[in-house]
């Protein structure tokens, strides 16, 4: 990252090669279309190229940092888009999109850690995994989720927290490498 910060293009290319697949996969999962996912990843990596100095090693791995930027950019794109408005109006549409996202990638390689995290997520009570998926992958705020599910905001926030606590426990220290 030191070299990237100094404007070294080959060093940036190494970062791209190392993290672009995870970045594109996350963006595709969230956006649901390859075109939007490409825009999100391009936007995110050019932001990284121009702001490499903002990476702080003490606050996590480069991958976590990169994926965090991709996630923010994807949420921005979702919240700006007509697609998000349409999905917001239909709870069924959301469920369909989330399920479709799973099915369209059957040919993709599956990493062991992905399986571990998916298992942890899958073992959550459905009302907790639902709010986590809607928030993290759907880009909805807790207020929007509460309205969709006709559930008090406090309940939604509580389910998010409980779900994350259980995931944290299920993953355990060191079982899933984030580096």
């Amino acid at each position: 990252m030191q070299l990237v910060r100094r404007g070294n293009a080959p060093a940036f290319e190494v970062i791209y090669e190392r993290h672009s697949q995870a970045a594109f996969s996350l963006a595709y999962r969230m956006a649901g279309t390859r075109g939007v996912a490409e825009d999100v990843v391009q936007d995110a990596f050019l932001s990284i190229w121009r702001s490499g100095a903002r990476y702080e090693r003490t606050r996590g791995s480069v991958r976590t940092w990169v994926l965090g930027i991709v996630h923010h950019r994807a949420i921005d794109a979702l919240r700006r888009s007509f697609v998000h408005e349409r999905r917001r109006a239909s709870d069924e549409g959301i469920e369909e999109r989330l399920e479709t996202g799973e099915r369209t990638d059957v040919e993709a390689a599956r990493h062991e850690e992905a399986s571990t995290v998916r298992t942890a997520l899958g073992h959550l009570p459905s009302e907790q995994s639902q709010v986590i998926e809607l928030a993290y992958f759907g880009g909805f705020t807790h207020t929007e989720i509460a309205a969709m599910l006709d559930t008090p905001v406090g309940t939604v926030k509580g389910r998010m927290r409980l779900g994350l606590e259980k995931m944290r426990h299920a993953l355990g220290t060191g079982q899933v490498s984030l580096g």
């Binding site: 121009r50 850690e113 992905a114 993290y136 807790h142 993953l171 984030l178």
Partner: protein, 243 residues
């Protein structure tokens, strides 16, 4: 034993929402401020952040298209060249540079994006100096550009190989967007250039337009996402007709 920060009761149940990026915009800053002041919430965020950080790893892997890398690296390499041309210090924080160059470029060399604009400016300066030293024609042909920015004045100074857009009173691009220069030839869509720029604090800018403008109908400027675009995503804010 951690002592809760101010307003802990109000924010205590928002940690999960914060980690999932699900706080409504109007609450985000408030929670971020609370987090800085509350050891309890900070501890919770660190603990639960492990789970939130793992979520993207649950996604099935999908390879990105090769063309995406080509597009990104094209921008990166062109910007790296501009930065190199501007010198190693171009992307240093302004405070460090102020003592060295106070009164010239001032404090606006804050971000690489701005540094790139500066690089374009320096290239203009270099090109002009070279032209003068070589005894070439320093007198440009100047056309007044149309701009949608109220109160702004923009002109295009056309030279054989190094034309320049000169802006005064131009607002900075909106949000985190950046201005991009386009070349428009008759009967064809605007062609992207790698020239991305912003304005100085006083609304001024001098922007190099690469190459000869022979056969070019107009030079356009739009505001685009960081990194620029392959095709304009917004209407031109500057239109400089070369004829």
């Amino acid at each position: 034993m951690r002592t809760p920060g101010p307003d802990h009761e109000r924010w205590a149940d928002a940690v999960g929402s914060y980690l999932l990026d699900a706080l409504p915009p109007e609450e985000r800053d408030g929670f971020a401020s609370h987090l800085e002041a509350c050891p309890v919430c900070r501890h919770d965020a660190e603990e639960l952040g492990v789970a939130a950080d793992a979520l993207p790893l649950s996604v099935p892997l999908v390879p990105p298209p090769a063309a995406l890398k080509d597009r990104i690296m094209s921008v990166v390499e062109s910007e790296a060249e501009l930065l190199a041309a501007a010198g190693r210090g171009a992307d240093e924080p302004p405070r460090e540079r102020a003592s060295k160059r106070r009164g010239f470029l001032g404090g606006w060399l804050l971000r690489p994006g701005i540094a790139l604009a500066c690089a374009a400016v320096l290239l203009v300066a270099g090109g002009l100096a070279g032209s003068l030293l070589a005894g070439g024609d320093p007198e440009p042909r100047t056309v007044v550009a149309q701009t949608t920015a109220p109160g702004a004045e923009v002109r295009l100074e056309i030279r054989d190989e190094a034309s320049t857009l000169v802006a005064r009173g131009m607002p900075a691009p909106p949000g985190d967007r950046i201005y991009q220069v386009w070349i428009k030839r008759p009967g064809r869509d605007p062609e992207p250039t790698s020239v991305l720029w912003s304005t100085r604090d006083d609304g001024s800018a001098e922007v190099a337009v690469p190459g000869s403008l022979e056969g070019v109908e107009a030079v356009l400027v739009t505001d685009e996402p960081q990194g620029g675009s392959e095709a304009p995503t917004a209407a031109p804010v500057i239109t400089a007709e070369t004829a």
